[in-house]
Every structure is written in C-alpha cells, then in structure tokens.
C-alpha cells in the first residue's frame, strides 16, 4: 500500500469517522499537568506537545481492574458466572514507536500455554497509530535497546509529520491497511511534489551499555548474588510507579470483592516491587528486601523475557526513570553491569 496523507487539521474528521464506526478513540491529552492517554471526544482535547505520555495504553488491552467472574451466595450454594467479554474496537492515536513494540511482549506472556482471552480479545481489536518522535528528552533510551523512533514493530499505522502540517501514513499491518480503507475519506494521496518530512529525533545510544554483555553477565548464576544489586538499588522504596507506568509489565492479582451474599472476582494490576507480592502464606518471603524485588524487575526485562519469549522486555521508553521518586535510573544499572563485565 502506498503512503497516504492526513491533514493535521482533519484529525477531527478522523475522530468522528472512528466514532461513527463504533470504536473508541484514544489519544494523548493533558490531565492534571500530566500528558496521559485518554478516550477523547474531539480533536481539541488532543495535545501534540509531548515526548511520551506518563501512562501507557496497555490499560486498553490489560485494564487496571476488570471483573473476570461474578458470584452469588444462595441457599443452594454458590452461583458462579463468567463475564461475556466483548471489548469495543479501540484506536490509539499518537503512540510512540518504543511502546508500540510492547504489545508483542505482552501478547507472548498472555498466550504462554493458554490464551488469556481477557487480553487477546482486546488486543485483537486495538489499532495502534504511531507518530514518529520529533522531540526526545534525557530519559529516552530506545536506541540503546535496539529500537528507534523509526521502528514500526507493533504499530498498525506509522505516521511521520510533514513540514506542511500533515502526517504521512504508512500501513504496517493488515489491520492498519483495513483501517485506512475504512476511513479513506480522511486520508488522501499526495498529488503535487513529495512532501518534506520533519526529521525524527533519535536519542544518542548510551555508549557504556552493551546488551550482549548484560545478557552474558546475567546468565552467570553467581551474579545473582552480586554486591552490585544492593549497592545500586537499595534506595528503591518499592512504590511500584515504575511497573504501573511500564508498557511491558503485566503482573496481576486476583481478588474477590463483595459481601456475604455475593460479589465479583477481579483482576487488578500488581507489581513485583510490592513487599507482599511474593509473601507466602507461611509468612516466609523469598524477596524479603527491596533490592531483591528490584533485581527481579531487571532480570525479568533482560533475562527471563528474552530467554522465554525471545521478545524484548524493555523498550527504552524511559517512563520508569521519569516517574521514580528516588531517581533510580535503570540505564545506570545497565551501564554498570556492562562495565564490570568488561
């Protein structure tokens, strides 16, 4: 499919066209001083002035809280009812290339062994429209983890800004092609000269970081007990903001809410940074101090994930660095590991 064009001024048309088709339109908006993804009604709510939203759009494939079953306690016993899962179509506009790559990672977890339909049905109905980054900040490090603002992994449609206030749209997947076809009234083909594209901004890869060295170092089991872990990460106090803003973190907890007469079973986000995450009923906690929990998050991203799923565990979006109240920088740990294994 040839590249198509979309006028920025006509985003409103695209939004109504999407809404007319019955889908939700999600995009970056300013909310309480933060840029976050939100379902929007009109183009005026959208903001274009952002590096990357604070939150991820994973909540549309993996909601913070969702009912997975309901139960009622009757005289005869307990009635258990499943939920009919029929998620709406969702269009995410303005995603970044880094986090677009995360859906593949999430999918590999939620289809490992059994398909988790609560995830897969939602993911099947989401269309990701990525906009190439024209601004970056100190925390961006996608190029260090072998991605870049130009990567199209996970995007259905990839947009580049042009100098004449348009987007150049390239359909990356079949879903993306179908989307452009379905909303063909909004997209148009350029007739005159080729438009000039706004240059992408790429973060400088962090020189000290060598991914292969990290993998090799993590593969050696004695390094699990390395003094590096407590030394670099004991300042973490386990708030979990990193995991909740991470596009690839996927842990959840199952909890029952209700009364003696009935209620619902819910699936809620959980985080390996919480001290009760690994607490056993006996009272024993194998990850009894914070650095062990932090080590787990790092190992999960750079060892367990790649080993098990051959997909990336960290997409370099830098959110965990931005939200961290103690400024624990994952790239500093990556750098230190790369260097000690020289």
């Amino acid at each position: 499919m040839k590249a198509m064009y979309l006028k920025k001024a006509e985003l409103g048309k695209l939004i109504s066209s999407v809404q007319d088709s019955g889908a939700l339109f999600v995009g970056p908006v300013v909310d309480a001083g933060n840029v976050v993804y939100k379902e929007i009604g009109s183009a005026s709510e959208l903001t274009g002035d952002y590096i990357i939203p604070v939150t991820t759009y994973k909540q549309w494939v993996f909601p913070q809280t969702e009912v997975v079953a309901t139960f009622a306690v009757t005289k005869e016993g307990v009635d258990l009812d499943g939920v009919d899962l029929d998620p709406p179509d969702v269009v995410v506009f303005g995603a970044r290339a880094c986090e677009a790559a995360s859906l593949a990672s999430l999918r590999s977890v939620f289809t490992w062994g059994e398909d988790d339909e609560f995830y897969t049905r939602r993911e099947d109905r989401i269309t990701v429209i990525t906009v190439g980054c024209t601004a970056i900040d100190d925390e961006c490090f996608c190029t260090t983890v072998e991605l870049s603002p130009a990567s199209t992994t996970g995007s259905d449609i990839y947009l580049r800004e042009t100098t004449d206030d348009e987007y150049m749209a390239v359909a990356v997947t079949k879903k993306g092609e179908a989307f452009i076809k379905a909303h063909h009234g909004v997209f148009h083909q350029k007739r005159a000269a080729e438009p000039e594209l706004v240059e992408l901004k790429l973060p400088e890869p962090i020189k000290g970081i060598k991914k292969e060295k990290i993998s090799a170092w993590l593969a050696r089991t004695d390094n699990y007990q390395s003094e590096l872990w407590p030394r670099l990460t004991r300042k973490c106090f386990g708030c979990g903001a990193c995991t909740f803003s991470c596009p690839t973190c996927h842990c959840f907890d199952i909890t029952d809410e209700g009364t003696a007469f009935g209620g619902e079973r819910r699936k809620n986000w959980d985080a390996c940074q919480f001290d009760h995450f690994t607490a056993h009923a006996s009272g024993h906690n194998p990850r009894d101090t914070q650095f062990k929990r932090w080590r787990n998050r790092f190992m999960c991203k750079f060892k367990y994930y790649p080993d098990k799923f051959k997909t990336t565990g960290c997409v370099g979006c830098g959110r965990c660095i931005r939200v961290c109240p103690v400024r624990l920088d994952i790239t500093e740990v990556m750098e230190e590991i790369s260097q000690i294994s020289e």
């Binding site: 309901t70 809410e257 209700g258 009364t259 007469f261 009935g262 209620g263 619902e264």
Partner: protein, 154 residues
C-alpha cells in the same frame, strides 16, 4: 454488592416511602445497654437502625464508617458513654479526637456530615436513645438516599 446496591437504589428512588438504612456503632457498656433498656421497657422506635455493638467507642475505626457507607448505609450513628463514664476510663475521649479529625476530613471531601451523627447515651438513657433514633431517622429520610456513595463506580 454493587448489583444489590443498584437494585435497592432504584427501588428507593422510585417510591416516596424511602426508608433509610442507618448503621449504629455503639459501645457495649453504655449505649448498647441503653438501647437494651429501651427494648425491655417496650419502648417503640423507628426500625431503620441496625446496631453493631463494639467494646468501646475507642474501637470504632473511621474505616467502619466508610465501609458502612460503601455498603449502602444512608446514615451512620456513633454512640458511647458520656465523657468520664468510659468503662475503660478514656476510650471515648480518644474516640472523640478521632471524630474531630474525621468529620473535618469528611466535610472537606464533600461528604454530607449530617449523615454521620455522634452522641453520648448512658445505660439509663433509654428515652434519649428512642428520641435520637426517631430524630436521626427523620432527618436522614428528609435527606433522601445517600447517592454520593451509592453512585460510586465499582
């Protein structure tokens, strides 16, 4: 729980004979005994109140009150021994400090403080108990169902 609530809410909204649900957290030694005396003396009062007995008002965590509202209470009544009469000497004084802070918090977050009432009722004040329940019931009936909490999305 949420299901039960919505059904109830709809029922109460559509009828004019709204009967509020009032939770009373009372202490074992004074107010409960007072309510008991009202019962054994065959005094009649509004049936809208559901009593939960605790050892002392000092045991009443503000969380109980939030939980009561969450579970569909239209009003909450907290009652215990008069100052100086606490079975444990000072439990009610400690409780009072907590209530001062909690009322301020409720007021600040916009929860109607008329739905949360406090009183001191001794073991001999069956009449005061009867009057209080009747008055509180009337007052909360006039306020209508507590939609702020019932409308919360679960």
């Amino acid at each position: 729980m949420s299901q039960e609530n919505t059904e109830e809410t709809q029922a109460t909204e559509t009828t004019e004979t709204f009967e509020p649900k009032i939770m009373a957290f009372v202490c074992n030694w004074c107010t409960y005994a007072g309510a008991d005396l009202a019962g054994t003396s065959r005094m009649e009062y509004r049936p809208n109140v559901r009593i939960i007995k605790l050892p002392c008002t000092g045991r009443i965590d503000p969380l109980f009150i939030i939980k009561a509202f969450e579970n569909g209470a239209d009003g909450v009544l907290v009652s215990g021994c008069h100052p100086g009469d606490c079975h444990y000497t000072a439990g009610n004084y400690h409780a009072k400090r907590r209530w001062i802070a909690f009322r301020s918090l409720m007021e600040f977050t916009g929860i109607d403080t008329r739905r949360l009432q406090f009183s001191w009722i001794s073991a001999s004040e069956a009449l005061k108990w009867v009057d209080l329940i009747n008055n509180v019931t009337d007052e909360i009936k006039a306020l209508g169902p507590f939609m702020d909490f019932k409308n919360l999305k679960g």
